[in-house]
């Protein structure tokens, strides 16, 4: 029924070179560029989509994976509605670092209830033949860390990219539903992101 568009901020985190920028570009412009520069700091693109008959503007924030860009990217974690933890299936170290990325996000985004925050895990570059991370291994990590949905994607051949973002949106909307129930129904929703205003420590 409702046609109101809401803006959802989704952030891509993960080691440098796992393909975060490529995933974003594939999803928004349906293009793949093998010669992208390293991302410096953060970048973002907007995409309008309809999920379960709700109009949503997805704002996808792509971040720099390299450690030296840390101070540039972390201020932009705040206000995220969903975090896409990304690794590359041909780079085991990037998989091992997922936990660190999650910690970094929770710390800088100032997430109030980390266990309820919607994370989605993406194993990118499934088009590559020499895998270092098996699907089972990845699924197990997701299971153990909070039952996160896991998608194996390829920005190069567009495998699962759209599906993953749609899932992210569903997660956010579902999380919102739960919050909305706590509020009287005919009020204006001003506090979609109350956590950013919450005091830390």
């Amino acid at each position: 029924m409702t046609t109101k568009t809401s803006l959802l901020k989704v952030i891509l985190l993960g080691d440098g070179g796992v393909g975060k920028s490529s995933i974003m570009n594939r999803y928004v412009t349906n293009k793949f560029d093998a010669h992208l520069f390293h991302t410096i700091g953060v970048e973002f693109l907007n995409k309008d989509l309809e999920v379960d008959s709700r109009q949503v503007t997805l704002q996808i924030w792509d971040t720099a994976g390299q450690e030296r860009f840390r101070s540039l990217r972390t201020p932009f974690y705040r206000g995220s509605d969903c975090c896409l933890l990304t690794f590359s299936v041909d780079d085991h170290q990037s998989f091992l670092n997922l936990g660190n990325w999650k910690k970094e996000f929770i710390y800088y985004a100032d997430v109030k209830e980390p266990e309820k925050f919607p994370f989605v895990v993406l194993g990118n570059k499934v088009d590559v033949t020499e895998r270092q991370v098996s699907t089972e291994e990845a699924r197990q990590w997701c299971q153990e860390n909070g039952d996160y949905p896991y998608y194996e994607t390829s920005a190069k051949d567009a495998t699962n990219v759209a599906v993953a973002f749609e899932e992210a949106v569903r997660r956010v909307l579902a999380a919102e539903e739960r919050t909305v129930h706590l509020i009287p129904t005919d009020t204006v929703k001003l506090h979609r992101k109350p956590r950013s205003a919450a005091a830390c420590c």
Binding site: G41, E43, L45, Q59, P75
Partner: protein
């Protein structure tokens, strides 16, 4: 306070464009020839009077001397003059304004007009006077709305305050521009944030021109949108036709390798015998030696032999055979259009000391000139005569990096001489601007149409100079748009979060550092309204800058009043000005080693290091 701010708000007293071809007959009213007059509310009679007087004097003098007029002085007003075909431009500023700045302002204004409208004659045939008047007003207001009075003095670009910006973001901006260049139809571009340059691949002159469109679009958007809601990510792409001069275009199209080699000519220049430090004692050994940097001290012989720019200048101007000049231009014509500011300023010679004089130079007279400097000027005049004769083929005539041998001989053999006449009202200066004024005015007829592509993301703007058929090439447009959009969004977000620099603790010192190559200024004098504290510094800087421009051998100078002293130093690439505030000045009236002014150079060196200014 009020009288301190007032002169800044009216930096330009008059500006007009007069078309002599409209006033031929005895009965033709002057106003028929007035294409544009600023301020527009000036009574018509006064407009008539000024236009006819200045145009008349200008024409008379140029005909008598067979060379162009560059500045005229009328009472308390200093006019920069440009004459081209039947057009006559005059821009009047207060006499306090350095002559270089006035001439540069007019130069920029005309260039700006031609950049967006094409050749003047053509644009007046295609458009109504009202339409073009609005454009002149727009360009003028853009040029006059400098960040600070200091920016106005140096006619420099508005840049981001880089002290607060992470260098990685500058790298990001540079990479965005490079990524756009992967499309072969994109020549080069720049990135601007809130009206200030973040990164540019264009020459300072071209960057300045490009920024005007950006600001106009922004103002327009502000007017129509009112206040845009924060957080809404409004993006807009627009484009407009622009006109480049052949050297500008050649420089943009030449592959980076050639650009390097052309900029190499500047390093070769640096490798030429450097000017000996005439005033070594001032900054190096603070001693009791009397003011060594006195600009009037006679160093004329040294001046001729050691000055790299003059030698080049004279050489190019005196090259008698077209073949020689043409050969030179093939190697370095890209540079010809963008001479370094110091070169540009060489041409404006000392003027302050000759106020209240009417003088002009003619090479038909055989008496030696008033001073060495004016002798130099007249030699430049002859060069221009030569240039004007070769109308149309002008770009081939300039060779700024040619060998600089025998300059002394050239000057010595020069039969051109000067004559000075006294008059109490007007001062006339001859064309001492061999370039780029003449150069570009001759090129107006051969301007090349290109396209300016502008992509705005809130306060951030990507401006690209592209081939005209870029706009018909949907694939290219999409490529450029999509390859830059995410990064622009991100860069905007980053720059947006940068908090303005914390104000400097007041009362320590004031400084201004001007980069002549990039045409940028670093200073801790902030704001448009200069307070009483900064006013002496701004005035002294203006005066010192003027002296530096007019006296090429001058490297360091101190200007002082009873209460304070301002130190200025310069080299080929930069000028730096410094004033220590507070502390009792020890000033006995005559120079002695206890004088606090002599500690200024070392103080400047130490204090400015943290601003990234290295005077060592």
């Amino acid at each position: 306070m009020a009288e301190l701010i007032l002169p800044d708000s009216r930096r330009c007293h008059y500006f007009f464009l007069y078309d002599g071809s409209k006033v031929r007959g005895e009965d033709d009213p002057t106003r028929k020839g007035i294409c544009y007059f600023y301020p527009e509310e000036t009574p018509l009679d006064k407009q008539d009077l000024l236009c006819s007087q200045l145009a008349g004097v200008g024409r008379c003098v140029s005909e008598l001397s067979s060379s162009q007029v560059s500045t005229l002085r009328l009472r308390r007003c200093k006019f920069a003059i440009r004459m081209k075909d039947d057009f006559f431009w005059a821009l009047g500023c207060s006499v306090d304004t350095p002559t270089v700045s006035v001439c540069e302002l007019l130069h920029q204004l005309i260039n700006l007009f031609c950049f967006y409208n094409g050749p003047v004659r053509m644009s007046y045939e295609l458009n109504s006077r009202e339409t073009l008047a609005a454009r002149w007003t727009c360009f003028l207001s853009h040029l006059l709305s400098a960040q600070s009075p200091l920016h106005y003095i140096f006619s420099c670009l508005r840049t981001m305050d880089l002290t607060n910006v992470d260098p990685l973001l500058l790298l990001k901006a540079a990479l965005i521009l490079q990524a756009c260049q992967r499309c072969p139809l994109v020549l080069a571009g720049c990135i601007i944030f809130k009206g200030r340059v973040v990164s540019t691949q264009l020459s300072p002159e071209l960057t300045m021109k490009v920024m005007v469109h950006e600001r106009e679009m922004y103002n327009k958007a502000q007017r129509t949108n009112g206040t845009s809601a924060p957080g809404s990510f409004g993006c807009a792409v627009s484009s407009t036709g622009v006109f480049l001069t052949p050297p500008e275009l050649q420089h943009l199209r030449s592959p980076p390798v050639n650009k390097d080699s052309s900029s190499h000519s500047s390093s070769q220049k640096d490798a030429l015998p450097r000017r000996s430090r005439l005033s070594r004692t001032l900054s190096d050994t603070p001693s009791s030696e009397p003011e060594p940097s006195d600009p009037t001290s006679p160093h004329s012989s040294q001046k001729l032999s050691v000055h790299p720019h003059w030698s080049e200048l004279d050489n190019s101007v005196f090259s008698p055979t077209p073949t020689q000049s043409a050969a030179g231009s093939t190697t370095c014509s890209p540079r010809a259009q963008r001479p370094s500011s110091s070169q540009r300023r060489n041409s404006h010679k000392a003027e302050e000391e000759t106020l209240h004089k009417f003088y002009y130079q003619s090479f038909h007279d055989s008496t030696r000139g008033v001073s060495q400097i004016e002798g130099e000027e007249s030699s430049t005049c002859e060069g221009n005569l030569h240039l004007n004769g070769g109308d149309g083929a002008c770009e081939t005539e300039f060779d700024f990096s040619g060998p600089s041998a025998n300059v002394k001989t050239v000057s010595g053999d020069n039969e051109a001489c000067c004559r000075s006449t006294k008059d109490h009202m007007t001062e006339v200066k001859h064309l001492t601007l061999p370039h780029p004024h003449t150069l570009e005015s001759n090129e107006q007829s051969s301007l090349i149409a290109m396209t300016l592509y502008v992509h705005r993301v809130n306060s951030l703007v990507l401006a690209l100079l592209v081939e005209p058929h870029f706009l018909n090439d949907t694939a290219s447009i999409e490529e450029v748009y999509h390859s830059s959009l995410a990064s622009l969004n991100g860069l905007e977000a980053h720059l947006h979060t940068i908090s303005p620099a914390a104000p400097e603790p007041a009362g320590q010192y004031l400084f201004a550092h001007y980069d002549c190559i990039q045409n940028t200024l670093t200073t801790n004098v902030s704001g448009r309204a200069v307070g009483a504290l900064e006013h002496p510094f701004v005035r002294a800087t203006s005066l010192l800058h003027s002296h530096f421009c007019s006296t090429e051998t001058l490297q360091e100078a101190i200007i002082r009043s009873a209460g304070t002293a301002v130190y200025g130093t310069r080299n080929v690439a930069q000028e730096t000005f410094f004033q220590q505030l507070g502390g009792p000045p020890r000033n006995s009236g005559i120079p002695n080693h206890q004088d606090s002014a002599f500690s200024l150079p070392s103080k400047a060196r130490h204090r400015l290091l943290k601003h990234g200014v290295n005077l060592l």
